[in-house]
Symmetry: C2
């Protein structure tokens, strides 16, 4: 296991310090590095906060900025931020119009963000929570909640744009729910991930294995199978996603191919091309596209395909200007 | 060796097709996929063209767009584009003001771009060439030319901005030379790279080895040594770079930490933070920063540090708007 780091236990904090130094014109690091926030806040706007374990960069710190998040709370590697961290961020960025928390559906995150929401509410902050659960590799009927994956970016982008447009807290929470319902993701990995504190890869995959339905912490997916050509992988992921799409929602889509940290762009674009062909042949119109490593799992060699079905309002908010360190248009 | 691909021999072309599909609103693929160009050209502007082997994405195709390149010619994996490819691109984008070719200093690239320049000149095009050779791991006195590494991005950004501002071909060629002289890079890898057509990693590094001074094709560097903490690696790279900086050029710098394809952003930001501290402690002012995987070597786990000493003009052109698929502000 080799990484560019010093002491493994210090890696998340040192990486965050480097991030803050590189982007000191646009972002601020909260006291004790407990959160990242925009340097300039907008009075009267609903604040949007997200967060979760470190190791998924640029998620969430890279999405702080005009048009997206007001603050992000990174935990230690693959570990939820504490309720106090989140409360500190809420206190710092609430501009009087309330705070929307965007939370990926993992037990630790859900528990800590909900505890923070309660504590903040006791202190007079208006708080709403949007839960992201876009992972279609988990059967709907399993009773296990679906995980939040790369679709989180789509929720943060669209809800962030609506907040910038002056929407109220309740309207943003409702919009967030609509984006979550419209957004489906499925992942695949060729190689597991390695925590800085571990001596070797977790969830090791054999020389010819791949993990279908993998999560962003190297969690096992739906099946471990032999590696196949990209065209076959893409078909399998898209078929599963397609089975989950609401036929009444229309045929205009955002197609987002996301790398998991160790995947070269050439493989992501190749995958995008195949997925675009698949959806076009299936009668969909791929109206918006995003390709890159945005929601990662340290050095994992893997990717996910996200489809979000667009209505005119979602499309307008997707297109709105965004000015963060990782996403900008 | 596992990759998201179909037939290895088709990988570069399939990846390029996916790139063109994802960005069809902004870029066009030339006939037979021989080059990528801006959808809309600017009449009367000097055209800027670059290119080189595929496998370094987003370089160069991701840098096509307003403020940077007019066209890029990708070859096969790690293989130079042919002279005919480059001539086709020149014919397509020359708006009557001439064409500047930005070429990384590798024998194949230099030979094919120079041959293309001659052929195009015979057809009445005004052509100038800028050679990028920013790799300080190669001793100046070795007689071997220095390789073009991540500094290529800096040259393409600054020269592209000046072209947008209406500079003449000769002035751009002179500016390109100045940027090359001001820009120094050194790389390091923890893991070699794997070509799609190869069954295994080339230039295999042992479990505790790293390659200092590595090139962007997995070429061996100055030394293979045991892995050390990031702070020690950063000091070694920066000392070598520092020895090459012109003391009379001032102390304002652009600091660019570039990932080589398989390196997570967390490691790049950690490295950036250490490098920023190093240069600040050495009396430099880190005025501009860039962190990300822009000039890659397929899936290589490695990074490079680039320093460009800025004067007011270079700084102004660095800051000018750029609207490409990989670099945007």
């Amino acid at each position: 296991m080799k990484k560019f780091m010093n002491e493994p236990a210090a890696m998340a904090a040192e990486s965050l310090a480097g991030f803050a130094a590189a982007h000191r014109d646009a972002i601020l690091l909260g006291a004790a590095g407990r959160f990242v926030r925009r340097r300039v806040l907008t009075p009267g706007k609903v604040a949007i906060i997200s967060g979760g374990g470190a190791g998924h960069e640029p998620l969430h710190v890279g999405f702080v900025g005009p048009g997206m998040l007001d603050a992000a709370c990174p935990g230690h590697m693959f570990t939820s931020p504490t309720p106090n961290q989140i409360v500190d961020a809420i206190k710092d960025v609430d501009q009087g119009a309330g705070v929307l928390l965007i939370v990926k559906n993992y037990d630790g995150d859900v528990m800590n963000f909900e505890m923070a929401a309660e504590l903040a509410a006791e202190n007079g902050h208006s708080i709403r929570v949007v839960l992201v659960a876009d992972d279609v590799s988990i059967p709907k009927v399993s009773g296990v909640g679906r995980r939040g994956l790369a679709g989180t970016l789509v929720v943060e982008k669209i809800v962030g744009a609506a907040a910038e447009a002056g929407w109220t807290l309740d309207a943003l929470a409702e919009l967030g729910g609509r984006v979550v319902a419209a957004t489906k993701t499925m992942g695949v990995a060729l190689k597991g991930t390695t925590l800085p504190s571990a001596s070797r890869e977790s969830n090791v995959l054999g020389e010819t294995d791949m993990e279908i339905g993998v999560g962003i912490h190297g969690e096992p997916g739906g099946a471990r199978v032999s590696i196949r050509p990209a065209a076959s992988i893409v078909t399998q992921l898209c078929e599963r996603i397609g089975a989950e799409l609401d036929p009444s929602a229309g045929n205009r889509m955002l197609l987002f191919v996301n790398g998991l940290g160790g995947t070269p762009l050439s493989e992501l674009y190749l995958t995008y091309g195949l997925a675009c062909d698949y959806w076009t042949a299936s009668g969909f119109a791929v109206e918006r596209s995003l390709v890159g490593s945005f929601v990662t799992s340290l050095d994992m060699h893997g990717l996910s395909i996200t489809v979000a079905i667009l209505d005119p309002q979602l499309e307008q908010f997707w297109d709105s200007p965004v000015h963060t360190t990782a996403l900008r248009w």
